[in-house]
Amino acid sequence: MDFLSQIINGLGIGSIYALVALGYSMVYGIVQLINFAHGDIIMVGAYVTYLVLVVGGAPLWVAVLASIAFCTIAGVLIERVAYRRLLNMGAPRIYLLITAIGVSIFLQNLSQLLFTSSGKSMPKMFPSDSLDLGSIQLSSVSLITIVTSVALMVLLQVLVSKTKIGKAMRATSEDAGAAKLMGINTNITVAFTFGIGSALAAVGAVLYCGAYPLITPYMGGMLGLKAFVAAVLGGIGSIPGAMLGGYLIGVAESLTKAAGGSQITDAVVFGILIIVLLFKPAGLLGKNVREKV
């Protein structure tokens, strides 16, 4: 049952893509900003985990909480320092995009300055043995990753659809001007969205370190790009879409490699994106909304 094992492998890495994709998707949904610095938040989360766990010697749960807290603050801070003025001034989107790329480069270089460009090794966080279920091989790390990501997505869905701040998020996303007139503090709502997205990336970072125990300042680059593709594939702005996109890309990668096509893995990923966008321009689960006039 190699095939099933490969699907599980794909869902494992796909879950991490999905967690990062959620951040892209939510931020885009609310302010139409493609936050290219989001992939680097996962790198920040990984280094915080490293500092607390390895340098500080604290237990895993402390490291997880510290990583989530730090990334949330970093996410909010980035929004406040780099994006808010541009957003409130109604600056053209290209300005925001370039600012986001600038923040991404800043984060990468900062961590290179602090930690050097050579990789740091992470300790074992989860039992790394493989489980033998009859003929199927499951790596326990993959299982933990998949379960955590699904649980977080359910939580997020509840948060957005049932709570007051969730309602504010949806309102701001639909029409920020009208939301403001209804008494919603859109600044706080946008900051909250950045915070939540970054917190999810922090969890993604911890899971990533558990599965791939070597972190570098540039780890967020390709990971962020794949997650962005996942968000677009699923329909950017849609939470279940981001999850679906993440899983699809993870499984596509895994199956391509298993079939001996390591050299074309990235081509397959981006090829899927192109084909989906040709037939469903809004992504798999995206809503086709007319541009506001």
């Binding site: 492998n9 090794s121 074992k124 790394s128 493989s130 790596s139 599965a211 070597l214 390591s262």
Partner: protein
């Protein structure tokens, strides 16, 4: 800038002129007439090239430090046939054009009789082209590219080539580990990794080992679970990983996660992996084997003496580059001694027939002037490298 260069060139010419000037009269060496080498009265000039600054300066300095130690040791022991060695090394910054310029300076101004260098493959290839025209005996300590020594009859090297390591480990897999099946996972975007993998595959099949899986990945990949799951399905005795230590740190942990039971084997790119894998994950590498041209764990007293001398001189640990630099210079010295003169043809002939006992094992040259030597086999046990044996296929 131009002026300064001119002044420097002029100074170099003057120094060279005065040096050869004082050589007049007292010189009785036969090489004086040969044109390619002028041994000044009581010194033999050997040229050196290394990147002492720039992006690959780490390699250049380590190699040059080793060479300097060899020169000092030889001079302390009385030099070559009573003559002191004068080692003249220029910084080529890792650049092929700079290297050729520096080479021309060595030959035309300094009148060196032999060259120990260059360090990295690209400038070495450029310099070798020139050295062939001058018929200058040349040995590179560390240039591994296949084409280096096939440039001409006068070009040698002290390090083993990448394919040689693959053949070595294939032989070890069969003869010492008794494996019947093997799988390979390598980086197809990297010349070193794919070169060693190809050599291992051919040699292993010649030894009667069945290669059950040949999986690939790309530079910067971090997820290897799909390839490893495929390998797991084939259940090989050995998994050969000709990769650098950063990739190995990721692969080894995922080998454990996917439950692959094969014995892991690799080559000298593995050196340094224990700094990149946390203690809690190091059991993933337990009992694996790799080969290296040098190990500080060696029980050879010559190696231990070298390490002591190196630490005393440079306040740093020697690495493979320093050791190869030391061996390369000593091989050149030995060849000049054996030749009994600094005549190019005589030195080249002596070098080709050299039987040398160095820090990196017993060395002879094959017909392509690549060294044939023993490799140190290392294993990883309890989060430390352990020296197993010197192995010759």
């Amino acid at each position: 800038m131009k002026k300064r260069f001119f002044a420097a060139a002029l100074a170099a010419v003057m120094i060279a002129a005065s040096a050869s000037g004082c050589a007049q009269g007292s010189n009785t060496d036969s090489a004086a007439a040969s044109g390619t080498g002028t041994a000044s009265g009581d010194t033999i000039k050997i040229g050196g090239l290394a990147p002492l600054t720039g992006s690959v300066s780490v390699y250049g300095n380590a190699t040059n430090n080793g060479v300097l130690l060899a020169v000092k040791a030889a001079n302390d022991a009385g030099g070559i046939n009573g003559k002191k060695i004068q080692y003249i090394c220029y910084d080529e910054k890792g650049d092929a054009t700079e290297a050729v310029n520096a080479y021309n300076k060595l030959v035309e101004n300094d009148k060196v009789v032999a060259l120990v260098g260059d360090v990295t493959s690209t400038p070495t290839l450029a310099v070798a082209q020139q050295a062939v025209n001058d018929n200058l005996p040349m040995i590179s300590a560390t240039a591994t590219a296949a084409g280096v020594t096939t440039t001409g009859e006068n070009v040698f090297r002290a390090c083993v080539t990448d394919p040689f390591q693959g053949e070595m480990m294939a032989s070890y897999t069969k003869k010492k580990l008794g494996a019947k099946t093997a799988a390979i996972l390598y980086n197809m975007a990297d010349d070193y990794s794919s070169g060693v993998a190809e050599a291992y595959k051919q040699a292993a099949e010649a030894e009667g080992i069945t290669i059950v899986a040949e999986e690939k990945f790309q530079t910067n990949d971090v997820d290897f679970k799909s390839q490893l799951t495929s390998i797991k399905g084939k259940n090989p005795d050995v998994l050969f990983l000709p990769v650098y230590y950063q990739d190995l740190a990721q692969i080894a942990v995922q080998v454990k996660q996917t439950g692959v039971k094969a014995k892991l084997m690799g080559v000298d790119g593995w050196d340094g992996v224990l700094d990149k894998i946390d203690k809690s994950n190091a059991d993933a590498l337990q009992g694996s084997y790799f080969c290296s041209q040098y190990t500080a764990e060696s029980t050879d007293s010559k190696v231990q003496d070298f390490i002591k001398a190196y630490k005393a001189a440079y306040k740093a640990e020697p690495n493979m580059f320093s050791v190869l630099g030391y061996d390369a210079m000593n091989m050149m010295i030995q060849a000049i001694k054996d030749a009994g003169s600094t005549d190019s043809d005589a030195v080249i002939k002596a070098m080709a027939a050299l039987k040398f006992k160095g820090l990196t094992g017993d060395i002879t040259f094959d017909k392509d002037r690549n060294p044939v030597k023993t490799c140190a086999i290392l294993t990883i046990k309890d989060d430390a490298y352990k020296f197993v044996e010197y192995y010759k296929k």
